[in-house]
């Protein structure tokens, strides 16, 4: 609960503004006054708030307390891998020799940064079993765009101009079809079978001379390892296509299997999921791409190179010979890459295997404990997350939406809701490895209690949440009459 007066969050910055207040003071000019430009070029009105430093600290601190976060709440948001974000990773990313370096300064003055990036490229190549790595893509979907542009460049470089079709399972993240479309492909949906795997029969019928490739998430968004994955890759390769891997769920696979040997040609990783870098309320992320030898010439620019002269290795930046081009202003989200590098150093190979092992153990523990209370549409061993359906509760009068809102009252963030689209009333729960058994047990108990409430006190569930700073919001009006910024009254 936040304080009153200025520590109340009701007023916006512009409403707090008092003429004459300042939040920061700059030095006086130390150079002789210079002639000003033509007055017509000069700004006449700058409508920014005037607030003092203590007010800013009080306001933003109060705002922060209106969030759920990993540090304050269990956050089992499926497919988002909301694991603990180590503080050492943040601390090193703020070192002056890492946060305070300019992207265009000469490589000889940034050898430490370049060595870090080069070693990270090597780590990610080892983890995925794919030898080429580009680090410059800024989020998962950005990595997808890079990967699909590489797929396009690969076919065009072979004179294969008719391969316009990309197959995407019906369980895929929405970014997959959106990225394929941005790379100029036509998207065709491929069904899943009754085990949650790609329907191999449907796949065989869809592949043909126009196939550019497939986009596969492994484990799938159902939290399942597709047991037909080798045949999927072989089928696509035999048709002349490439296999794109969405690495959003890589937390399940660290050290357990490498995607390259399975048959994947290009994979993006979400460092802000698997490799513990903080989500920051919706970014920054980093979405490096890892590729087979044949795609290395097409990697986005730049990549980090190492040359060994007479003495110590020298690191530099280079554009691959047939690069798809630059996808970001400079070399990528370096501060995020530093954090992921630090995480891998801390854990080593042994630790990464322990991460996937415990993530999968925790997910199976939850799934097993809840499957008598919530309908489990795919009753088989899960990987890092379990996808339930709220169908049983819906039949008794409470939807999945209402159940997850009620979870907020119990002090738990909601699971991912209504995704994947192929599961009715889907509740997708990903506990991660960094939660204790005590927390998992408390969460299991909460979901069982809510199930009982659906029968005994349905209004309590349907009206949830009751304890959050605001209750259910009017999204329809928000979309019909968008209010997207503060405006002066009258």
């Amino acid at each position: 609960m936040t304080g009153g007066g200025n520590r109340d969050t009701t007023k916006l910055l512009m409403e707090r503004s008092v003429p004459g207040r300042v939040g920061a003071v700059l030095p006086q000019p130390d150079v002789p006054a210079q002639p000003l430009p033509d007055p017509s070029l000069l700004r006449t009105a700058l409508d920014l708030p005037e607030v003092s430093e203590p007010e800013i600290v009080q306001y933003f601190t109060a705002l922060s307390q209106r969030n759920f976060s990993i540090d304050t709440h269990f956050y089992p948001l499926g497919s988002c891998t909301m694991k603990y974000n180590p503080k050492i990773n943040d601390e090193v990313s703020f070192l002056p020799g890492l946060a305070g370096i300019h992207p265009l300064q000469p490589p000889e003055s940034a050898q430490g940064a370049l060595e870090l990036l080069y070693r990270l490229q090597g780590f990610l190549a080892e983890i995925t079993g794919l030898p080429g790595v580009g680090l410059s893509t800024l989020a998962g979907a950005h990595g997808e765009l890079a990967g699909m542009l590489m797929m396009r460049a690969y076919h065009l470089a072979r004179g294969d101009t008719n391969r316009r079709q990309v197959l995407i399972p019906d369980s895929a993240h929405g970014t997959n079809p959106a990225s394929a479309a941005m790379a100029g492909f036509d998207v065709v949906t491929v069904a899943s079978d009754d085990q949650g795997n790609v329907d191999l029969k449907a796949l065989h019928e869809l592949v043909g001379p126009n196939l550019a490739g497939v986009m596969i998430t492994l484990p799938s968004t159902l939290g399942l390892f597709d047991t037909g994955i080798v045949e999927v890759c072989q089928t696509v390769h035999q048709a002349g296509g490439l296999v794109y891997g969405d690495g959003a769920n890589m937390n399940a696979l660290l050290g357990r299997v490498k995607l390259g040997p399975l048959g994947f040609d290009v994979v993006h990783l979400n460092l802000h999921k698997t490799f513990s870098t903080p989500h920051g309320g919706g970014g920054p992320g980093a979405g490096p791409v890892c590729v087979t030898d044949s795609l290395i010439p097409h990697l986005p620019a730049p990549v980090v190179t190492q040359s060994s002269g007479d003495g110590a290795p020298v690191y530099g930046l280079a554009a691959p010979e047939r690069t798809i081009g630059k996808l970001s202003g400079f070399h990528g989200n370096f501060g995020v890459l530093v954090r992921a590098f630090t995480y891998i150093l801390t854990l080593g190979g042994e630790g990464l295997r322990a991460i996937s092992g415990n993530a999968v153990l925790n997910a199976n523990y939850l799934m097993d404990a809840l499957k008598d209370t919530y309908y489990l549409p795919y009753d088989r061993r899960c990987m890092h997350e379990a996808v339930f359906s709220a169908d049983w509760q819906k039949a008794r009068g409470a939807s999945g939406l209402e159940i997850v809102k009620r979870l907020l009252d119990y002090g738990f963030h909601a699971p991912t809701l209504y995704f994947p689209l192929i599961v009715h009333e889907a509740l997708m729960i990903e506990p991660t490895e960094s939660e204790t058994r005590e927390t998992l047990d408390a969460f299991i108990q909460a979901l069982r209690d809510i199930d009982r409430e659906v029968t005994e006190n349905p209004e309590l569930v349907r009206g949830a949440p009751h304890t959050t700073p605001v209750s259910r919001l009017d999204e329809a009006t928000a979309a019909r009459q968008p209010d997207l910024r503060w405006r002066a009254a009258g």
Binding site: P27, D30, T44, V51, Y75, T175, R437, P465, L484
Partner: protein
């Protein structure tokens, strides 16, 4: 070294413990027992056996103390901006950052939250985004701004794609004074969209026609100079084209914003607003437009509404534009963006406020003009571009800039960008329908250096730069 070798090489017999994994071996055994499974490895039996548990050649685990030392060592081999004068800009700027920016943005409640899909549990983040949208639209003089893009380059590229959607045209005119890095990112984004990119000279007037979707200009331009936005906007609108501007937010403390001239889409790099250079990222892309185009915008939007008890609250809105609803017909594939740095920029703009942003902009202007005037007096150095500049300017040097920069670095001064190198390092775009690589504008400069002076540079530092440059005077 592979994982399996570790035990043999270890002098200690105790198994390594991992601070981020609470489950002890006993707890694991108890949990496995509830599943009727003997080992964690057994949970992975869906992975085909021949691919399961491959060797993993990664370093051994390290303690936090060892990790800290390793990172300190890597950081010490970089020349930090704080260690001496810097005159490098070209899209990333060294500005003062008040302490409260880091103190507030690293609060765990902001730092470790996800995208605010559950509005009731994310009011802090959603209200910050709404504040950000307000301040960015004010800064650019535009009607609406979104929750942010990845960085300035991608924000501009998305602006170009949006202009093509709005006009249903597919020819893009890019001013040759745009950053070559941004020009390249536009090329990459457009390569599969059947969009044709033309380079145009913004002055005296750009060659546009009735097929042009948009005119793309940078403000101030890559060389630091103020473009004639009034004339360029008129020229674009006369052909039914939009004008898409990439504007330095810091310059908005001093110069009329693009919205004042009727710009249609205004994007920018948010890095100058309280975000460390960090070797190129993470930053935040700024994106604003006119109200009439909001349903064509990429990325997230926070909207103000009421809850069922009449209290004000915020939600992600107009989500039917986005990939998780619209899939292959979405306005963009963007999902995770840079919310934490939108927060940083919001705190920065609140702290600097109206007076502070004006002060910083004027300091940059004053110091840059002092430096330029002094350098122009050195024999052999000239300022080849006429016009009004903000904090960056081009200097034609008597010898190649890279040799000057090497000498400056020996004196612990980070010099400006060697423009010849900046353009020659641009790789050709693959497989696109674009008009090739960016080229240096007509009348290209030889031995040209792009210098940047901000409020961080003291008069003493500027004088030291001038002194060092004078060594090459002839």
């Amino acid at each position: 070294m592979t994982v399996s070798n570790r035990a043999a090489d270890s002098s200690s017999s105790a198994p390594f413990q991992f601070p981020y994994i609470p489950n002890t071996p006993d707890e694991q055994a108890a949990m496995l027992a509830t599943l009727g499974v003997a080992s964690i490895d057994e949970l992975f039996q869906d992975i085909p056996e021949e691919f399961r548990n491959p060797p993993l050649d990664l370093p051994q685990p390290m303690s936090e103390l060892e990790v800290q030392k390793e990172l300190d060592g890597l950081a010490s081999r970089n020349r930090a901006l704080a260690s001496g004068p810097s005159f490098l800009g070209a899209g990333c700027y060294n500005h003062f950052i008040p302490a409260i920016v880091k103190a507030l943005m690293t609060r765990g409640e902001f730092l470790t939250a996800y995208t605010p899909y559950q509005a009731e549990a994310s009011q802090g983040t959603l209200q910050v985004i709404y504040e950000f949208q307000t301040l960015i639209s004010h800064l650019y003089g535009m009607e609406v701004a979104n929750a942010g893009m990845y960085d300035g380059a991608t924000s501009l590229a998305e602006g170009v794609l949006m202009a093509c959607r709005v006009t249903r045209r597919s020819r893009v005119a890019v001013a040759d004074t745009l950053s070559p890095f941004y020009r390249q990112v536009i090329g990459t984004y457009c390569q599969a969209q059947g969009i044709e990119i033309q380079s145009v000279s913004p002055s005296p007037s750009p060659a546009l026609d009735g097929e042009t979707a948009c005119l793309v200009v940078q403000y101030p331009n890559f060389y630091g100079y103020i473009e004639d936005l009034a004339g360029l906007t008129e020229a674009a609108h006369a052909q039914g084209a939009l004008i898409v501007v990439s504007a330095d937010p810091m310059a908005m403390g001093m110069f009329q914003p693009p919205g004042h001239y009727g710009a249609d889409i205004v994007t920018g790099e948010g890095q100058p607003l309280g975000i460390p250079p960090s070797y190129g990222g993470p930053y935040v892309g700024l994106f604003s437009t006119k109200q009439e185009y909001i349903r064509q915008m990429p990325s997230r939007l926070s909207g103000r509404t009421l809850d069922n008890q009449g209290r004000t609250g915020y939600v992600l809105t107009l989500q039917t534009r986005e990939q998780h609803i619209r899939r292959e017909r979405a306005t963009s594939n963007i999902c995770t963006n840079e919310a934490l740095y939108a927060l940083a920029a919001t705190i920065y703009l609140a702290a600097l406020g109206k007076q502070g942003l004006q002060s910083v902009a004027e300091l940059c202007y004053q110091k840059a003009h002092y430096a330029a005037a002094r350098i122009a007096q050195l024999p052999g150095y000239t300022l080849p571009i006429q016009g009004t500049f903000f904090q960056e300017f081009v200097v034609q040097c008597p010898v190649p800039p890279n040799s000057i920069n090497r000498r400056l670095l020996e004196q612990n001064i980070l010099g400006g960008l060697d423009l010849n190198e900046a353009y020659s390092n641009v790789p050709p775009s693959e497989g696109g329908t674009t008009g090739g690589s960016p080229s240096q504008p007509a009348g290209d400069f030889t031995n040209a250096m792009l210098l940047c002076v901000t409020e961080m540079n003291s008069r003493q530092e500027i004088d030291a730069l001038v002194e060092a440059l004078s060594e090459f005077s002839r």
